[in-house]
Amino acid sequence: MENGFSSPRSESFPAGLRVLVVDDDPTWLKILEKMLKKCAYDVTTCHLAREALNLLRERKDGYDIVISDVNMPDMDGFKLLEHVGLEMDLPVIMMSVDGETSKVMKGVQHGACDYLLKPIRMKELRNIWQHVFRKKIHEIRDIEHENIDIIQMSRNGSDLDDGHMYCGEDFNSKKRKDFDKNDDKDFGDHSTKKHRVVWSVDLHQKFVKAVNQIGFDKVGPKKILDLMNVPWLTRENVASHLQKYRLYLSRLQKENDLKASFGGIKHSDFPPKDPAASYGHQSSINLNQNDVANGYQFCGSNFVAQDAETKNNEGDLKIVSEIKRTLTADVSDPQKMRSSQSFSHSFASLETEASYPAFDSTNPPEFSWSENPETQIKKEHKTHLQLEDGYSQLPPHGQQHQIPINQLQSDPAVTSVLSLTGRDMSGSIEIKPLFNECKSKNVSHVSPTESAIDTFPIQTKSQLINHQSFEPISTVISSMKPQGFNLSITDLESCQRNLTSASDPNFAPINEDLTVWLQGDYYTMNFGQSIDFIDYDDPGFLAEVPFYLYDPLTSDFQCPIDSTTECPIVDQGLFIA
């Protein structure tokens, strides 16, 4: 789905909300169906949990929300809930006759966004759309957050040198099409900054270590928390991070599969200059190439990737924009977008700073998570992305990022299906090799992260993806950055610095983004606030950047992302360069 949210439903949201109801009780199933239809929702019913999962997997993007009973004969409702949350990242509402606190708590712990008691009234069902909406907003915010973090990171100029965080966040997750228009108005308010946990590289490494120790199958937030031994970390933090991580792994898996098939498609030719649409959303793949430069962007500009408008150059931007997109979902807040853009811009600043401004203005407000704002951004990015010359090399880099993302994105369905393969990101971040190859020399560190990041965030798919991606990235980053790339680099400057050092696989900026991304609570990031990415517009920055981009590019630019990433997903808005 490329432009994700622009589904026809959006105009009349919440009407047409696609609901999947799962209940083994035929009486209730009929009643719920009738009630939901009265709410003008698009209802699909099924009796069994397995049947529901099949339906969801078949039509990756076919539903907006799932309502399920807790007690079902073939599968525990909580299990279904977990699966849906991890694989598809859809909001799930649980239902039960039993209102015991423990059950309700269990539901919430497993990720249910609401728990209804039977008998259910019409009015309770009327408002279920809020969960879908909320998720989108959060996604956007997370992206924004990420961007902010990234920027900050780069500013800090921490020793990011290696940890280029690739903020390839995949904003596309905003596939909640129906939201884009309607919900914009709401976005403006990001004041509710949530207190989020920043998943630094180290922290994430601990996390992954714990997960591996326990065994991916047996893992649980409590166990992980205990093993990690981080006093200030809560079980909820771990749970949400775990969720993301799982998703990330699935994505990774997907990506690898895709990569295999792709074989380096995009990768090979990065026409950096090609701002082409790839940037935008769907052409994420295209973007890859150009995206190298965008790679930088990646950090920040993920936001916009969504729109194909920005095409290739934006590819990187895309990623960034993707992220941003998520952030910018708050269309209502063009500011953000701007910032995100600037962010990416900074990265992309390599080239056209100027174009950026254009972005801002164009952000269509209603792009809630939708691409509009992003598109805008993307466009901007494009210009910026034109790293082409120097950067063309970059694209590979960016691509890398993108690739993973693309991969992820390429198949929204895929993403949803991400089967938690338990790829072990743990610590080693498989992605790493990708990068390493690409960057071979310089960027070595970056690569893993990037890959990781890419895969992660770029997911166009669900918002969750955004979140999820964060996680792996952390890991990636950590691995990438042996020296402790601090994820917390939110200082764009540092990124810049990295870039400038050219010789240094400065992916940093990107990494930073990634890290930034990783860290926060993706979900709750309330980025929204004006991220002053603008710093990035440092020309010097540009100059430097290319270089690492070059390396990887020229060398075995692994860009797995690129080729493999079908990036269609990325198109979604990920920054697919």
Partner: protein
């Protein structure tokens, strides 16, 4: 109006169902869902309910004949029964289910069996009265070509 007395009768019968505690608010919710496209919606729901619960009743009976009693399984069936009963507001039946569950949890076989008998009685009463009501309502509708009361 012609159907007036009939309509009044229907209304009266309907009210009695509530007054006697056989039905609760949920029934009204279902009635509100009824419309032109689905004029017999409530009746359809109740019919589905009978089909589903008759199976459950058999299961419970079988369970109660086991020795020793498997309270966990028993509770499972009753839980489903209760869930279905809440769907259209079968108040008394629902209450019996709750009681039944308590006995299950307490591991009280005697209590379970007693409650089950009571449950079956309430269930039969409800079924009988609802069927009479629906029949009358249908009749009134035909006579009237007006929507059923309620």
């Amino acid at each position: 109006m012609e159907g007036s007395p009939l309509l009044r009768q229907v209304a009266h019968q309907r009210q009695a169902l509530f007054d006697e505690g056989l039905l609760d608010e949920q029934f009204v919710q279902l009635e509100e869902l009824q419309d032109r496209t689905n004029p017999n919606f409530v009746e359809e729901i109740v019919t589905t309910y009978y089909q589903d619960t008759s199976r459950l009743i058999l299961n419970i009976e079988q369970e109660l004949e086991r020795r020793p009693l498997d309270f966990g399984r028993l509770d499972g069936y009753v839980y489903q029964f209760k869930g279905s009963s809440t769907s259209f507001g079968a108040k008394k039946v629902k209450a019996e289910c709750s009681l039944f569950r308590e006995y299950c949890r307490a591991g009280n076989g005697e209590g379970c069996m007693r409650t089950f008998q009571q449950l079956k009685r309430e269930y039969a009463t409800l079924k009988r009265k609802l069927e009479a009501y629906f029949q009358l309502a249908r009749q009134a509708r035909l006579t009237q070509t007006a929507s059923p009361p309620g």
